[in-house]
C-alpha cells in the first residue's frame, strides 16, 4: 500500500511511475510512484536497504555502472523518459549532478576540480569564461572565501567539510537542473554539516535537490517534502511538516519515532 497524502501542485521535475529495479535476481525497488517538484528539496528517508539510494541512482542512471542492474517502469525528467534509447547518458549527467556520501575530490588542484565538468562539456569559450564559472561555483558553494588564494593547491588537502563543499561546487559548475545528494553530511562534523545544510537552503532557489539521509532531524531541517521508503517500497510521501508531526502510515510513524529498527 502506498499512501500519497497530497496531490502534486507545482510543476513536477522528476516523475517516477511503477519504477522497478533489479540487481540480478534480487529486486530492490517495487513499483515506486513518486513526483519530485522543481525548486524544492525532497528528502528520502528509510531504514538501511530500503531502496532510497537505489532510487536516487536511477535518476542520473548511475545504476548503469552496476553489473546486472535492470530498471523497468518509467522515470521522466521534465516529461522525457530518461531510459529512452536516444537519451545520451553523458548529457543526462550534465543536467543531473550528484554529490556522494564520502567527499571524493579529484587528486588535482581545486581549480581543476571545479573546471573539469565545464571543460569536458565545453561550457566555456575561453580561459576567462572558465575562470568565471569556477569562481561563481565556488562562491555559490560558500567556499570561495576560504580557498580564493590557494586555488592551485590540491583538492585533497582540504578538511572534510571543505572537500564536500568542493564536490558540491564541482557539481554545480556544469549548471545542472537537479542535484542528487547521497547522505552528503554523514562523514562531516556538526559545524560542517550546518554549513552544507545552509548551502542546500541557498541552492534551493536555482536547483531541484533530492537528498537521501539517515538523519531524520536533517530531513526535517532541510527538506520541504519527505518520502519514506521501506523494503523497496514507497510507503508515504508528503510535506515534511506533516510527515514529522502527523504521519499517516503506521510504518512511517514507527520509523520516525524510533519504534523499529
Amino acid at each position: 500500500m502506498n499512501m500519497i497524502v497530497d496531490s502534486v501542485q507545482g510543476p513536477s521535475k522528476i516523475s517516477a511511475k511503477a519504477l522497478d529495479v533489479h540487481y540480478g535476481e534480487k529486486q530492490a525497488l517495487f513499483g515506486v510512484d513518486l513526483q519530485i517538484r522543481a525548486g524544492e528539496v525532497t528528502a528520502l528517508i528509510g531504514p538501511s536497504g530500503c531502496g532510497k539510494s537505489t532510487f536516487l541512482r536511477c535518476v542520473n542512471r548511475m545504476n548503469d555502472l552496476v553489473e546486472g542492474a535492470r530498471v523497468s517502469g518509467s522515470l521522466t525528467l521534465d516529461g522525457t523518459d530518461i531510459y529512452d534509447r536516444i537519451i545520451d547518458v553523458v548529457q543526462l549527467r550534465a543536467r543531473v549532478g550528484m554529490v556522494f556520501q564520502k567527499p571524493n575530490p579529484f587528486p588535482k588542484s581545486i581549480y581543476d576540480n571545479v573546471a573539469y565538468g565545464p571543460r569536458i562539456h565545453g561550457l566555456a569559450q575561453d580561459q576567462a569564461e572558465l575562470d568565471e564559472i569556477v569562481m561563481t561555483s565556488l562562491e555559490k558553494a560558500g567556499l570561495l572565501n576560504e580557498v580564493k588564494d590557494r586555488l592551485q593547491e590540491s583538492g585533497t588537502g582540504l578538511s572534510g567539510g571543505q572537500q564536500q563543499r568542493l564536490c558540491i561546487a564541482r557539481a554545480i559548475a556544469v549548471e545542472p537542473e537537479v542535484i542528487l545528494m547521497d547522505e552528503p553530511c554523514s562523514a562531516l562534523d556538526p559545524i560542517a554539516t550546518a554549513k552544507v545544510e545552509e548551502l542546500i537552503d541557498e541552492l534551493r532557489e536555482n536547483f531541484t535537490i533530492v537528498i537521501v539521509t539517515h538523519s531524520m532531524q536533517q530531513a526535517a531541517r532541510v527538506s520541504q517534502r519527505t518520502a519514506f521508503f521501506h523494503l523497496g517500497k514507497l510507503i508515504e510521501v508528503g510535506d515534511t511538516e506533516q510527515i514529522f508531526t502527523n504521519p499517516q502510515h503506521p510504518l512511517t510513524q514507527g520509523y520516525i519515532t524510533g519504534r523499529f529498527g
Partner: protein
C-alpha cells in the same frame, strides 16, 4: 570454599599461567632466532658471491701501460719519404714498438728474444702509433715517450691477478719476461691507468683490447625496441582488460593465459623468435631488433599484470565522481584513472626492463651469440648484448678474460641496481594514501 583453598587454587593458577608464559616467550625467541639466522645465511651467501666477483673483476677497470721511447724511424715507416697515406697506413708500426723495446731492455737481442719482448706489449700499441702518425705525419723522424698498452699476460701479473713465481698456476711469462718486467717497474716505466678501452671498444680476441661497448649499445638498442613495443601494448591491454572488457568467459580465458605466460621459461620465447622472426619473417639474425621483439614478448605479461594491479588500486569513488559529472568511460580512464595508475605501471615496466636486460637464453636462441667486433650503428646491425657477452667471455680459457667477465658482471649488476632504484624511487614518490 575456604579462604585458604581459594588462595591455593589462585596460586596454582598463577604458577601455571607464569610457566606457560615463559614457554611462550621462549618459543617467540626461538622463532626470532630462526628468522635472523635465515637472513644471516642469505646475506652471507650474497656477500660471498659479490665479494668473489668484485675481487676478480675490480682490476678490470684498470689497464697496464708501459712507457717507451718510440723513435718514429722514417726508415721503417716511410722509407720513400713521400708521406703517402696509403703507405703510411700499411707501414709496420709493430717494428717501431719492437725497436723501442729492444733498445730499452735488450739491445743485442736475437729473434727469440725479440719475440719475447714483443709479447709484453699489446698489438694495439701498433694501431695507436698508426693513428698518431696518420693524423700527424710530422711525427715521422721524431722521438717521443709514450705510454703504450701492455699485453694481457703482463697486465695480469702486474695487477696481481696471477702470481709472479715462475711455474705458478696461470703464469705464462717466462723467466726473462719476468725479469724485464721487474726492470721496467724499477725504473717507473709501468703504470696502471683507467681502462677506457673497456668502455669504448667492442669484443676482441685480445683480452686487453676487449671492451663492452658493443654489447652495451646492443643492449641499449634491444631494450629501446622492447620498451617501444611492450609499454604501449602492455598499458593499452591492461586498460582494456581492466576497464572495458565485458565480464565473460573470453575475458577470463585471456586473463588466465596472460598469467601463465608470465611464468613461461624465457628460452621458449627464444624458440618462438627463432621460428617466427628469423625463419618466417627473415629478419636479420643476431640483430637487436629481433632481440628487442623477443624481449618485448617476455616483458608483456609482466607489464599487463602490474598495469592491471595499478588500475585496480585506483579507488572507485574517483570513477564515480567523474561519471557523475558526465564523463564518458574513455574520458574517465584517460583523465583520471590512467594518470593515477601511471606510477604503478611505470614501476612494473622498469622492473620488466630490468629483467629483460639480464635475459640471456632467448637471445642465444636467436643467434646473438656471434663474435661481433664492430659497434652496431643501428638496431639492424648484428650485435651482442651484455649478458651474452659475459657468457662468451666466461667460456674463454684465457686468464685475462676471467677478469673481464667479472668486470662486465659488475657493470651489469650496477645497471640492474640503478634500474631497480629508479623503480623504487618512482614508487615511493608517487605513492598515494587514499
Amino acid at each position: 570454599m575456604t579462604d585458604m583453598a581459594q588462595t591455593t587454587v589462585a596460586t596454582r593458577t598463577a604458577e601455571t599461567v607464569a610457566s606457560r608464559l615463559q614457554r611462550r616467550y621462549a618459543a617467540e625467541r626461538r622463532f626470532r632466532a630462526l628468522g635472523i639466522g635465515a637472513i644471516l645465511i642469505s646475506v652471507g651467501f650474497l656477500l660471498l658471491l659479490l665479494g668473489s666477483i668484485i675481487d676478480k673483476g675490480w682490476t678490470g677497470f684498470m689497464q697496464s701501460e708501459i712507457a717507451l721511447e718510440i723513435a718514429f724511424d722514417p726508415q721503417v715507416i716511410d722509407p720513400e719519404g713521400k708521406r703517402d697515406p696509403a703507405a703510411l697506413e700499411t707501414a709496420d708500426y709493430a717494428a717501431l714498438v719492437r725497436n723501442a723495446m729492444v733498445a730499452r731492455l735488450a739491445p743485442d737481442a736475437d729473434l727469440h728474444v725479440r719475440r719475447d719482448l714483443s709479447a709484453l706489449v699489446s698489438t694495439m700499441a701498433a694501431d695507436h702509433l698508426r693513428h698518431m702518425v696518420i693524423s700527424n705525419p710530422d711525427l715521422i723522424g721524431t722521438r717521443a715517450t709514450l705510454w703504450l698498452l701492455a699485453s694481457d699476460k703482463l697486465d695480469m701479473v702486474l695487477k696481481g691477478q696471477v702470481p709472479r713465481q715462475l711455474g705458478a698456476e696461470g703464469n705464462t711469462l717466462t723467466d726473462r719476461q719476468l725479469g724485464w718486467l721487474t726492470e721496467l717497474e724499477q725504473t717507473g716505466q709501468t703504470r696502471k691507468a683507467f681502462n677506457a678501452t673497456f668502455f669504448t671498444a667492442g669484443d676482441s680476441r685480445a683480452p686487453e683490447q676487449a671492451g663492452i661497448w658493443g654489447a652495451v649499445v646492443g643492449s641499449f638498442f634491444s631494450l629501446a625496441i622492447t620498451l617501444l613495443i611492450s609499454f604501449p601494448l602492455g598499458a593499452a591491454s591492461a586498460v582494456y582488460l581492466e576497464e572495458f572488457a565485458p565480464n565473460n568467459r573470453w575475458t577470463d580465458l585471456i586473463e588466465v593465459n596472460i598469467n601463465n605466460l608470465a611464468a613461461v621459461p624465457s628460452v621458449v620465447f627464444g624458440l618462438l623468435g627463432l621460428g617466427m622472426f628469423l625463419n618466417v619473417f627473415h629478419m636479420p639474425r643476431s640483430a637487436p631488433v629481433v632481440g628487442g621483439l623477443v624481449l618485448a614478448l617476455i616483458c608483456l605479461p609482466t607489464i599487463i599484470i602490474a598495469g592491471r594491479a595499478a588500475l585496480k588500486a585506483v579507488p572507485p569513488s574517483i570513477r564515480q565522481a567523474a561519471a557523475g559529472l558526465g564523463a564518458s568511460p574513455l574520458q574517465i580512464v584517460a583523465h583520471h584513472v590512467l594518470p593515477l595508475a601511471m606510477p604503478g605501471m611505470l614501476t612494473g615496466t622498469i622492473l620488466g626492463m630490468a629483467r629483460a636486460l639480464g635475459e640471456t637464453a632467448p637471445l642465444l636462441m636467436i643467434g646473438m651469440v656471434a663474435f661481433i667486433v664492430d659497434i652496431p650503428k643501428s638496431p639492424m646491425d648484428p650485435s651482442a648484448v651484455l649478458p651474452v657477452q659475459i657468457y662468451l667471455w666466461a667460456g674463454s680459457s684465457e686468464r685475462a678474460f676471467v677478469e673481464k667477465t667479472s668486470a662486465a658482471i659488475i657493470v651489469l649488476l650496477l645497471f640492474l641496481v640503478a634500474m631497480n632504484m629508479v623503480a623504487i624511487v618512482l614508487r615511493k614518490k608517487f605513492e598515494r594514501r587514499w
